[in-house]
């Protein structure tokens, strides 16, 4: 596979390390009452879609950025690649 890095252009996926669903960015607030359940769902439950999947890849043999790649799990077609840092900020993550 080839991941079209937002800055570096097309790079072989073997330069990257895969983590999983980009929902891992959405770490729950640990201070809420149901934090334990929220963390269980965060850590263990997945949509695992057959189709478009937003997922995290780390450019290990590249610029060391975490990317959010939107990829079709049935065809492997990649339609979007973003910096995870930007996605996280958009999701309201900060410090």
């Amino acid at each position: 596979m080839i991941i079209d890095h937002p800055l570096l252009g097309p790079r072989d996926a073997s330069e990257f390390v895969y983590l999983g669903d980009a929902s891992l960015i959405d770490r729950p607030n640990p201070d809420t009452e149901d934090a334990s359940h929220a963390f269980y769902e965060y850590a263990y439950l997945r949509d695992n879609p057959a189709g478009l999947h937003r997922e995290l890849w780390f450019h290990e043999a590249g610029d060391r950025s975490w990317l959010v790649v939107t990829r079709n799990t049935e065809t492997h077609e990649i339609t979007k690649v973003e910096f995870a840092k930007d996605v996280a900020r958009l999701a309201g993550r900060s410090l």
């Binding site: 997945r46 695992n48 879609p49 990829r71």
Partner: protein, 416 residues
């Protein structure tokens, strides 16, 4: 019709005109006591044990394509019970015992071949871990044998023991492990289930569940609604897709695992052997093909095919320990969709929906589990209690912190 050497001769002398279909091709009924979704190894095995062992009636297996077309027909055919953890080992040992009596139980030769499985050891730490595992196997009533490099060399004389990057320091063997002709497992279970009255309905895809007041009353299919008192799902890599129709999210990701076969070769690899410092394992089929594989590709996929990096990684492993394989040719590569769970161990459990049962999360260990998975699922469906060897395979183990994590990789399915 009973299969035997006598039958083969008799039919041959009559021009083979007497053979009948291995299973019927029935129209679905309006309602069954138990509907199994998934005509793979686990679903068919479950149907067989439900009908034959648990004496259940009115059972159907619904298969969206043709039976045996999923992972039971795409794996590398290995059976073993060399597990470490108490949540797993009794279950897999139960499975191995069922394999040992399978052909007589089914009257079908699935070529269960107990030629042994050997995991190579390359470091002191690995040796410590394998000794712990071997002891756990023996303490659970399975067999295990710590082999020296010299013993291994006698069995695999061409093993690279003198120029290895990661020298071989012995191996943990399970001599009762081995291989089985995988397609025959599906066919054998199907034929037996059919003979015990199970309706095997192919080309019947489940498109939804009918759930009323928290109770599942049947399934919508491409061939119409089929009512059921109990519905069991055993669809491996398609688990998330199917269960989402019941509104469930699972602790499972679907990943592609590639497998490879070489051209036919005269016997050279006697048993199943696994490299411990890379991703490569290998056995040789009765037809002579080297059947080998390694790690999953590592990304979520439903595509039933993989990519070159893993092919290369596996072949590098092959050449690390068997440099004589350089001139053997890889004939075919293919992929199956693995239901990789969050701790590397399966789930056989009721769901929160009454009448809906789930079997999945087999990672890439589903084939060897086929008989026990079928049996335990049948036990659960028939008695509403888990089989004694499968009590740990619950949904709630993740929320409770009772993971069964053989590899110690945590909640990252592609590392299991």
């Amino acid at each position: 019709m009973k299969y035997s050497a006598f039958q083969v001769i008799k039919q041959a002398l009559r021009g083979h005109k007497g053979w009948i279909p291995a299973w019927r091709d029935p129209e679905p009924a309006n309602h069954y006591d138990i509907v199994i979704i998934g005509g793979g190894g686990h679903g068919l095995a479950c149907a067989h044990y439900l009908a034959k062992t648990f004496k259940q009636k009115r059972i159907a297996v619904l298969e969206k394509g043709w039976i045996g077309g999923g992972n039971v027909g795409r794996n590398t055919t290995i059976i073993r019970s060399n597990y470490l953890l108490d949540g797993n080992e009794p279950f897999y040992e139960f499975s191995l015992k069922l394999w040992e009596g399978l052909e007589q139980d089914l009257n079908y030769n699935a070529m269960v071949s107990q030629r042994g499985i050997l995991n190579l050891i390359h470091s002191d730490g690995q040796r410590d871990a394998f000794i712990r595992r071997g002891n756990a196997m023996i303490l659970n009533g399975a067999d295990a044998d710590l082999m020296s490099t010299e013993q291994i060399k006698r069995k695999y004389p061409f093993l690279n023991t003198d120029n290895a990057r990661f020298p071989i320091q012995g191996g943990l063997a399970q001599h009762r492990g081995g291989t089985v002709r995988h397609d025959a497992v599906a066919w054998g279970y199907a034929r037996s289930a059919d003979q015990h009255g199970v309706d095997i309905i192919q080309n019947c895809e489940v498109t939804g569940f009918r759930i009323e007041n928290g109770t599942c009353t049947g399934v919508e299919t491409t061939r119409g609604f089929i009512g059921a008192t109990k519905v069991g799902c055993a669809v491996a890599g398609s688990s998330s897709r199917l269960m989402s129709k019941a509104g469930m999210r699972l602790p499972i990701e679907s990943h592609v695992l590639q497998a490879f076969v070489s051209e036919g070769l005269k016997p050279v690899i006697p048993g199943v052997i696994t490299f411990g410092a890379g991703h490569f394992y290998c056995s040789q089929s009765d037809k002579g093909g080297l059947v080998f594989g390694g790690d999953i590709d590592g990304y979520n996929s439903y595509a039933q095919r993989g990519n070159l990096p893993v092919v290369e990684d596996v072949c590098e492993g092959a050449m690390a320990i068997f440099p004589m394989l350089g001139r053997a040719r890889l004939l075919r590569m293919w992929g199956g969709i693995m239901d990789m769970s969050m701790d590397g161990s399966p789930i056989i459990d009721r769901t929160h929906i009454k009448g809906l049962y789930f079997n999945g999360g087999w990672c890439y260990g589903g084939f060897k589990a086929t008989p026990a998975s079928g049996y335990a699922f049948a036990h659960l469906l028939a008695t509403d209690t888990p089989h004694p060897t499968a009590t740990a395979y619950r949904f709630d183990r993740f929320e409770k912190g009772l993971m069964i994590d053989e590899k110690g990789m945590g909640n990252q399915p592609n590392l299991h």
